[in-house]
């Protein structure tokens, strides 16, 4: 149900000395035939088109069925959407049958006093506006996050309108235009009667703007309105923006989480041409944003990008997060030759599509189908390079290949291999996810008698027991994690290719701990220095477990372990540990091996790319 997130309509109501009034609604009721519909909008409203298919046999389709919520007359809308003043200045939500109205009623009485005479002196009717409400009409079963978004947009519009009302009585003036038009229409003879809203579309800038907001939201999910040529309001509906054709639903919070999970070793992939993006930016936008877009490259990690643009890393994160939110970019692992790509399950397979044409224009010597066939098996990028595509010179060829891959990634036709792996192991993966945050893991050789020594430990262990069995099975068998580990350690000499082969096979570690006998006490005393460090970060039981590992006898290893111990909580993956703690891949794997009796690695999704994954 892609179109659940597009609004059914937008309504502007006001309340004042003339009572509750509907100032504008869009799309408005088409009087006669389709040709009077403005800009063919009733056609672009996809809900209207597909209503039959989408909701077969839904008995309550009356209100929303034709997309213009016709069963509500102007008068009724005006009455139900203007709450009492006590309810103003807070989000507004009203559900009637299968439509939901959301808005943000705002009082203007306090700011429009001084304009009253000036504005209304020209017209016969004295009208004062007390409050107004920009209302979006949604489906009744809209997700709460969606409702919140629309309330936010309504609030933005309201704040801007109120400011303009304060400054120059803009809203009152527009209301006068509306009243005059309505009076004119009412005075017309019946046969030539026209929709007042159609006239308003010509006469009132505000109405045109609101209609523009509606159209923008319906088409792209973004809108941009300049109220009274002065206040810019822009808004992006993440639910819609990130939806490429029939994608899964994105929740706003999920989006924000993935934005905040951006890491220095990720790269940014712009989804639009730089030129277009550049054009789309407001004139006085952040200079840093322009700079970032200029230097952005899918081959470069964010850290390198930060140093190229002379921006601070956290600023780069904010900029990237912003672009991702607005659907202008996505986060990937830097494209490098060890990356494995495979076709996305949703690649269009028909022979002639718009994608084919676009591709052919960009790369005249290639054929999309052929390229796609190339990626039907997961192979590292460098192996594609060695064979197959054409007889190019090596350098030219690889440059071209990278361009092709970037284009495919932009169109979301490719995904990194891990995706399939993850599907295969979906069930296990879930288990792993669950386990990583438990810090206790019982090793097989330990008897239950120790558990009874420590009641607290016992509980946790018992809880985690079934999962752990699964986990050790997973770990024991030839899991992709192990494969990755091997390959990665063998090619450990390329630290600048930060990308890990897998996209979402992030490795995280759990510290496995078991209680121990008292004779460790002496060693504990002997190595107070290191242990002191451990003490700050680990629990008593954990510390004992660490010290009982043979490798802990070597001061060097223990030192490294102590240094890295904050990361062993299942919340950091290997790339991250390498980055934050500045250790080499080899060192880290060695340490993992030495302490393998208490450290486990497991796989779960990388938060930053989850959203990206869901598009595919």
């Amino acid at each position: 149900m892609a179109d659940k997130c597009t609004p059914l309509g937008i309504v502007l109501v006001s309340s004042g000395s003339k009572g509750d009034l509907l100032l504008f609604r869009y799309p408005y009721k088409v009087e006669t035939s389709n040709e009077t519909a403005p800009n063919g909008l009733s056609k672009t409203n996809r809900f209207a088109l597909h209503a039959q298919d989408d909701l077969p046999g839904n008995p309550k389709r009356t209100a929303a069925s034709d997309g213009i919520f016709t069963c509500f007359t102007d008068k009724i809308l005006a009455i139900i959407l203007t709450p009492k003043t006590q309810l103003c200045k807070r989000p507004f939500e009203l559900t009637v049958d299968d439509v939901k109205f959301v808005g943000f009623p705002t009082l203007v009485q306090d700011v429009n006093q001084r304009w009253r005479e000036e504005v209304t002196s020209s017209v016969s009717v004295q009208a004062t506006m007390i409050m107004f409400n920009v209302v979006f009409v949604l489906h009744a079963d809209s997700h709460p996050s969606l409702i919140q978004c629309y309330q936010d947009l309504s609030k933005r519009l309201a704040v801007a309108l109120k400011h303009e009302e304060r400054r120059c009585g803009y809203l009152s003036r527009q209301a006068v235009v509306v009243h005059t038009t309505m009076d004119e229409v009412a005075a017309m003879p019946e046969d030539s009667e026209e929709s007042p809203f159609k006239l308003l579309m010509q006469r009132s800038k505000l109405c045109r703007g609101l209609a523009g907001v509606f159209q923008g939201l319906t088409k792209t999910g973004t809108c941009h309105m300049v109220i009274n040529n002065w206040i810019e309001v822009s808004f992006c509906l993440p639910h819609k923006v990130h939806k490429v054709s029939h994608m899964l639903k994105i929740e706003k919070n999920g989006m924000e989480e993935s934005v905040s999970a951006i890491k220095p070793y990720h790269a940014i992939l712009l989804l639009e041409r730089i030129g277009d993006l550049w054009e789309a930016l407001p004139m006085d936008c952040s200079p840093a944003l322009r700079r970032l877009i200029k230097f952005a490259s899918p081959l470069k990690n964010l850290q390198a990008l930060a140093s190229d643009t002379d921006l601070h890393l956290s600023q780069v994160f904010q900029l990237v997060g912003h672009l991702v939110y607005w659907g202008k970019a996505t986060v990937i692992y830097p494209v490098c030759e060890t990356n494995e790509y495979i076709l996305s399950p949703r690649v269009p397979t028909e022979r002639h599509s718009a994608l084919h044409e676009e591709f052919h224009q960009l790369f005249p010597s290639e054929f999309l189908t052929k390229i796609l066939a190339e990626f039907s098996l997961p192979t590292p990028l460098k192996e594609h390079r060695l064979s197959k595509i054409g007889d190019y010179e090596r350098a030219e060829h690889s440059a071209n290949l990278v361009k092709v891959v970037v284009w495919l990634l932009q169109k979301r036709l490719l995904t990194q291999t891990c995706y399939t792996t993850e599907n295969k192991r979906k069930e296990k993966k879930r288990l792993v996810d669950k386990c990583t945050h438990l810090c206790l893991h019982r090793t097989p050789y330990r008897g239950p008698q120790n558990d009874s020594e420590n009641g607290k430990d016992l509980e946790t262990k018992l809880d985690s027991n079934p999962d752990l069995a699964e986990l050790s099975k997973l770990y024991g068998e030839d899991s992709p994690a192990d494969k990755q580990t091997d390959r990665a350690s063998s090619s450990g000499g390329q630290p600048e290719n930060l990308s890990y082969d897998s996209d979402d096979l992030s490795f995280s570690m759990s510290l496995e701990v078991y209680s121990n006998t008292d004779d460790e006490q002496q060693k504990l005393l002997m190595r107070r220095g290191m242990v002191f460090m451990l003490m700050e970060r680990l629990t008593e039981a954990e510390r004992k477990a660490v010290l009982s590992v043979p490798a802990a006898q070597s001061p060097e290893d223990l030192k490294l372990f102590a240094r890295l111990s904050p990361y062993f909580r299942g919340k950091h993956h290997l790339e991250e540990i390498m980055y934050w703690a500045n250790v080499e891949r080899g060192q880290l794997y060695e340490l993992l091996d030495k302490f393998r009796s208490i450290l486990i690695t497991c796989t779960h999704q990388d938060a930053a790319t989850i959203t990206y994954k869901e598009f595919l």
Binding site: N229, C236, S260
Partner: protein, 600 residues
């Protein structure tokens, strides 16, 4: 006798007290016992700095007696005349204009409240002169941007001032609106983009955001000079944070000027911080604001809560942020100096939905910093003079350590001069200081992430592939390193003054009124004027010593010498011609010569 954690000092109103004086006090009283005076004595005192209160260390620290002096100290300035200038940056979301007014009013109301310093019973009420300037990038606007100039705000007049301000801001916005919509020639709106209007956007009459910000700072410096003499000057920029700086040299230039004139540049951010769903293209650049605030000893407030009147007269956040000059502010700008100070975040968001995402990271996130020693030498001068110069250059004191057993004092200073790198300057000297033999061992250490240090030390010709910005950063870094060395040499040179009588015995000719040097036309180098007198060894030495000082750029004098600024208005020698800005018939412009100052 307890170890002091914080010492509050009072700066008297008669003087503008330089950074050096403040630092000197610190070192004079290091490891000494200080006792605050009574309130009456305090008010009578004619001293530049008076101890207001001393707060003991709360927790018993377990330091060895070798290094007890890691104490922070805050200078306190009141009654003050900080001139204060506000910039309303209205390049976008014009709703921010009203927000910034609220912000300004909260801030001013908070500031003028009387308060007393922790540990002291003396009630202080600041005297504040303000100038408020609104700034806009739209250069076509010719209207008055100075909203209020040189107003002394007190509790009595604050309401009046704020009312005027509000009116002025509204007028300003209306004028700007008219201006913008006029220049648009009836198009579809100035801020609309090309595809909406069908016309290409009229770019030229809007300054770039980068240059805007610099203009704003210079404008602030000028406004400060026009205010009455004061003890402490500050620029407060109220902005939404959508700013940028173009080039490091330009920024450094402005920062140097700010530091030279001891102006603290503080920022108050209006609106919310970064939210991914903020309006498209507008992202506050918090880092740069924090950087500038730290570099000029200002502060950064990311919100401006309303301060209610309370009878307790504790210092509120505006007092702490804008009136207190701390000797040892955190070098690390991203550590969020202000964030810890605001206990309850009262965010007055215009658009609130969802929470702000904490994308803040530590400045050098856990990355171990590489340190490369660049230079080490022994300077024939005292530690405090070295320190004074460094403080002028913007260094902040990171750590002061006294090794009693070795009789050595070690001061670590740091200057962060790139996003991921900084210069550390370690100065060691004998302790307690002796007058006879003054040698300071200094070390210059480059500190930064591995990548940064690598870039810095990579030969320039290998940098072809680097981005322009990166190259610029690296060049700038080396420029700073070089100027450090030059400054050190000049310092030693100047401090050799007393060592040789030839340097300070004025030659015969000069004492009779002959000039020592003269500037030949079209030349930058002064030439000795008295060569013809006779071959005189002492004259040559004297000239050599003073030549370097004569060559010093005037704007750098303040860094080295005690300067006092005298403002004067010059009178043109001849009455000004009518059309000054139009060329004469011959196509030339009239030159104006002024030799005399206007009297009275």
């Amino acid at each position: 006798m307890a170890e002091a954690a914080d010492v509050y000092l009072l700066m008297k109103e008669e003087y503008r007290i330089s950074r050096n004086t403040r630092a000197a006090w610190f070192f004079d009283h290091l490891n000494q016992t200080v006792t605050p005076k009574s309130d009456e004595e305090l008010l009578q005192s004619k001293e530049e700095l008076e101890v207001l209160s001393v707060l003991p260390v709360v927790e018993e620290s377990s330091h060895d007696s070798d290094e007890p002096s890691q104490q922070a100290m805050r200078f306190f300035q009141a009654p003050i005349f900080p001139s204060w200038q506000e910039d309303t940056d209205i390049q976008l979301g014009k709703v921010n204009i009203m927000n910034s007014f609220t912000c300004l009013s909260n801030c001013l109301r908070g500031l003028i409240q009387p308060f007393h310093v922790p540990g002291s019973s003396c009630l202080l009420s600041p005297m504040i002169y303000i100038t408020v300037v609104a700034y806009t990038p739209v250069s076509a606007l010719t209207t008055q941007q100075v909203l209020v100039q040189g107003a002394l705000i007190t509790a009595d007049v604050i309401d009046e001032v704020l009312e005027i301000l509000q009116q002025e801001i509204e007028t300003f916005e209306n004028k700007l609106f008219n201006c913008v919509n006029e220049t648009d020639h009836g198009g579809s709106g100035y801020f609309l983009r090309a595809q909406d209007g069908g016309l290409s956007v009229s770019q030229p009459d809007m300054a770039l955001p980068e240059s805007c910000f610099m203009n704003m700072l210079w404008c602030g410096i000028l406004a400060l000079q026009l205010l009455p003499p004061n003890t402490s000057a500050g620029i407060v920029v109220i902005t939404d944070g959508v700013i940028g700086v173009r080039e490091d040299p330009i920024l450094n230039n402005a920062l140097a000027k700010l530091r030279d004139s001891t102006i603290a540049c503080s920022f108050i951010q209006v609106g919310h911080g970064f939210l991914p769903h903020s309006a498209f293209g507008y992202i506050p650049h918090t880092e740069i604001m924090q950087f500038i605030a730290t570099a000029t000893q200002g502060s950064f407030l990311d919100q401006c809560p309303e301060v209610c009147d309370d009878s307790s007269h504790d210092m509120n956040i505006y007092h702490t942020a804008l009136l207190v000059w701390s000797f040892q502010k955190d070098i690390n700008p991203l550590k969020g100096y202000q964030q810890s100070m605001i206990p309850s975040p009262k965010v007055s968001e215009t658009f609130s939905s969802g929470k702000s995402i904490g994308l803040r990271m530590p400045r050098f996130p856990n990355l171990p910093l590489q340190r490369v020693k660049h230079r080490e030498e022994a300077l024939q001068t005292g530690l405090f003079t070295v320190m004074a110069v460094r403080l002028r250059e913007g260094f902040t004191i990171k750590q002061v350590t006294i090794h009693k057993s070795k009789g050595v004092i070690e001061v670590r200073l740091a200057l962060s001069c790139a996003q991921s790198g900084q210069i550390e300057y370690v100065a060691k000297s004998q302790w307690p200081p002796t007058t006879s033999r003054r040698v300071t061992h200094v070390e210059v250490v480059m500190e930064g992430t591995y990548d940064f240090i690598h870039d810095i030390n990579c030969p320039l010709n290998k940098m072809d592939s680097r981005s322009l910005f990166k190259t610029r950063v690296i060049k700038n870094f080396w420029q700073i390193i070089r100027s450090l060395r030059d400054a050190d040499r000049l310092l030693v040179h100047m401090h050799s003054f007393a060592a040789n009588p030839a340097y300070y015995v004025v030659p015969e000719g000069t004492s009779k009124g002959m000039p020592l040097f003269y500037m030949p036309p079209n030349s930058d180098t002064p030439v000795l004027a008295q060569q013809h007198v006779k071959k005189d060894e002492s004259l040559a030495q004297f000239a050599q010593f003073w030549k370097r000082i004569a060559l010093m750029e005037p704007r750098k004098w303040q860094r080295w010498l005690h300067t006092h600024q005298i403002a004067m208005l010059l009178m043109p020698d001849l009455p000004l011609p009518k059309h000054l800005h139009h060329p004469t018939a011959a196509g030339r412009f009239v030159s104006v010569q002024c030799k005399l100052a206007r009297k009275n």
